[in-house]
């Protein structure tokens, strides 16, 4: 896929009050602009909660309809973006519950099953009593800059990352998808998921650390990670 084929690149959005005014006035092009900016992100985020793509699409459709119905009540206290995605996340969670799926409890990081998992396997470091380097690297990480770029950009590397994300706890998966895949600010993520800055950071840290670990296993020993 060449960049030129990537036609759906989101265009810059007008500011919220202009956009809301246009929408309320029934300006269809404003609606299409908004759809173009967010519909793919919405699908990707809905897919975090519900089982299949068609249900994710339904959730996104319902979200837009609910947003239109609620637009007159939109007061601009949050950004239009966080308002829209809050509706999306609520609907996706409700739908997931109906499907009997466990739903991320973002606010309750204490319940995170792998809360205490360290970023790096403790065996990689010298023990605390080590005479020269207590807590220092016994097996230091490799320099990935020495790897051929093709390797890092290969489809297989992408699959390793996707699989690593799927294995994360739901809360970690939400945060890393919004922050690093979608490129959101931490403020937006906290607003939409109802997280404190520090909880968000803890989830992000664990998620990134786990993805790095998966990449390291694959990049150091490709045979081991593919199965």
């Amino acid at each position: 896929m060449t960049p030129a084929q990537h036609v759906s690149k989101p265009t810059a959005l007008p500011d919220d009050s202009t956009l809301v005014r246009s929408l309320r006035a029934g300006d269809e092009s404003a609606f299409v602009t908004l759809l173009g900016a967010y519909e793919k992100s919405m699908l990707r985020i809905a897919a975090l909660y519900v089982r299949d793509d068609s249900v994710a699409e339904e959730v996104v459709q319902d979200t837009w309809i609910a947003a239109l119905q609620g637009l007159d009540r939109f007061e601009g206290r949050s950004s239009l973006k966080t308002w829209l995605f809050s509706i999306l996340v609520n609907r996706a969670k409700t739908r997931a519950q109906r499907e009997g799926r466990s739903v991320p409890m973002s606010a309750l990081t204490g319940d995170d099953p792998d809360a205490a998992l360290p970023a790096v396997d403790p065996d990689r470091f010298y023990p605390p009593g080590h005479p020269r380097r207590p807590g220092g690297w016994a097996t230091p990480p490799h320099n990935w800059d020495e790897l051929p770029e093709d390797r890092l950009l290969a489809q297989e590397t992408t699959e390793i990352i996707q699989r690593a994300i799927e294995k994360l706890s739901p809360g970690q998966r939400e945060v890393i998808t919004l922050r690093d895949v979608e490129g959101w600010s931490s403020d937006d993520v906290c607003n939409v998921l109802g997280l404190s800055e520090s909880n968000q950071r803890v989830l992000l840290h664990r998620a990134r650390s786990a993805v790095r670990r998966a990449l390291e296993i694959y990049l150091d020993e490709p045979d081991q990670a593919t199965r």
Binding site: H6, E28, L68, A119, G135, H142, T157, H205, R208, R212
Partner: protein
């Protein structure tokens, strides 16, 4: 113990806070002091940065363009209603 220098095992747990600009001035200084003398942690930080960049490339994966027909109809109806 704050004056004691940071070790590698501690540093790896602070990488996200460092990248988010959430470390205190003192901790940031300890972090960077350690980094300056430690090729292992420098490689580690670089791996984390690379991981983040690779995560950002996942959006290039082609997701199907959702059908707009119904939504545009909904918009037109909403406008009338």
């Amino acid at each position: 113990m704050a004056a004691e220098s940071m070790n590698c095992k501690e540093l790896v747990e602070l990488v996200t806070e460092y990248l988010e600009g959430a470390l205190s001035t003192t901790e940031k200084r300890r972090f960077e002091e350690h980094l300056g003398n430690c090729p292992g942690c420098t490689a580690y930080l670089e791996q984390m940065r690379r991981t983040i960049r690779l995560l950002g490339r996942l959006t290039e994966d082609d997701i199907r363009q959702p059908a707009r027909h119904e939504l545009l109809n909904a918009f037109r109806q909403w406008k009338r209603g």
